[in-house]
Symmetry: C2
Subunit: 221 residues, 2 copies
């Protein structure tokens, strides 16, 4: 597993760089998912189960972005998926240039699906287009159902909201309907799934969405 | 309750501004606590219980910093504490100038204790000295014990680490000893408390620390 040290891309044209990267990825038949959430919302655990379920059918790689450490990349690598760990040099997000650099570290192999596990944070990652075709955000039950009110941009820019850690719902006051309504008010088209990475509940629907997106990308190839 | 819209302070000298603000606060006998954590770690719930327990003995105010919404300030105000809601204009942190502006909105009353509930985020708030005399961070059990590895700066700059939501520990794989060791490796002097804002467990020790800090500040007045 490689650890790469990234610096912020000095470019005023992140949106255009992201657009170019997105087109290149689609031409290669690679679906890039920008996965975003708070620290500890369960991004890596969701990836572990998803990779385990889909790795026989698709070539999958993961780019882990963190301020520090390589614990996430090591976890993913244990499953046999190719992983790179990107250190953001203290920055709270990935941009398109940083994403391109991390993708290059994955090498020449073809991947059907690449996950960018963004820095754990509900603010900065929402502000930067990484070039991913899809943005998926996680909100865990312990975080609370008021988060769409406090971090509206993240909910507005995401294609998918996955409510995680549903197995512990009995121990928290999380109003699923209120949360979904708040998210849909910001983003009427957002797809919402409820999952437990511990029990596997809800993974069928999420993985079915993911497979459709992979096949859509392959069809445009 | 006031809502104020803040802009990033255009100054290269945040550290010096913070130092000046800190001296002014200490001269007034006001302890400012910079409270930092991920989204949903339980900052506001901890404040609610702390204010309820201490409000008869001390004059307490709260400055809520968020990208958007005023849900936290409304919650705090219900307890009878003076509260201002600061909107950071999309920014992921408060700096010393922003903190000064928010403090001015609290008006002329004397406060023994002011909490700055910083933006929910383990990265950016760690990088900016707000002028607070003490930095207190929360890490909730559902977030996981690996967070000191991934967000070392936050653990390094904090005077206090409060492990929250201990009531749900039976439903999560959170290794308290491993977490504390990781935090102390980064910051040997960090004071660590374990609390449940739901049951009140551990609040005696946290509030005792807090009262000592209030009295220290008053003694320097």
């Amino acid at each position: 597993m490689k650890i790469i040290e990234l610096k912020e891309t000095v470019t005023a044209s992140n949106d255009r760089d992201a657009q170019v990267l997105r087109q290149e990825l689609t031409q290669k038949g690679t679906l890039l998912i920008n996965l975003m959430a708070s620290p500890g919302a369960g991004k890596t655990t969701l990836l572990e189960r998803t990779i385990r379920d889909l790795k026989e059918r698709y070539a999958i790689a993961v780019m882990e972005a963190d301020v520090d450490s390589d614990v996430d990349a090591r976890r993913v690598e244990k499953l046999g998926a190719k992983a790179v760990q990107a250190h953001t040099g203290g920055m709270c997000h990935m941009d398109a240039g940083m994403t391109r650099t991390a993708l290059e570290e994955l090498g020449e192999d073809h991947f059907d699906l690449v996950f960018l596990e963004n820095v754990g944070n509900l603010i900065c990652p929402a502000e930067f287009d990484t070039g991913a075709q899809k943005r998926v955000m996680l909100l865990s039950v312990p975080e609370g159902d008021d988060k769409p009110l406090k971090y509206p941009l993240m909910f507005s820019v995401s294609d998918v909201l996955i409510l995680t850690k549903t197995d512990v719902a009995p121990y928290f006051d999380f109003d699923f309907e209120a949360c979904k309504q708040r998210a849909r008010k910001l983003n009427p088209n957002i797809a919402i799934f409820e999952v437990s990475s511990k029990t596997g509940a809800g993974f069928d629907a999420w993985e079915s969405w993911l497979e459709n997106a992979i096949q859509d990308t392959a069809a445009k190839n």
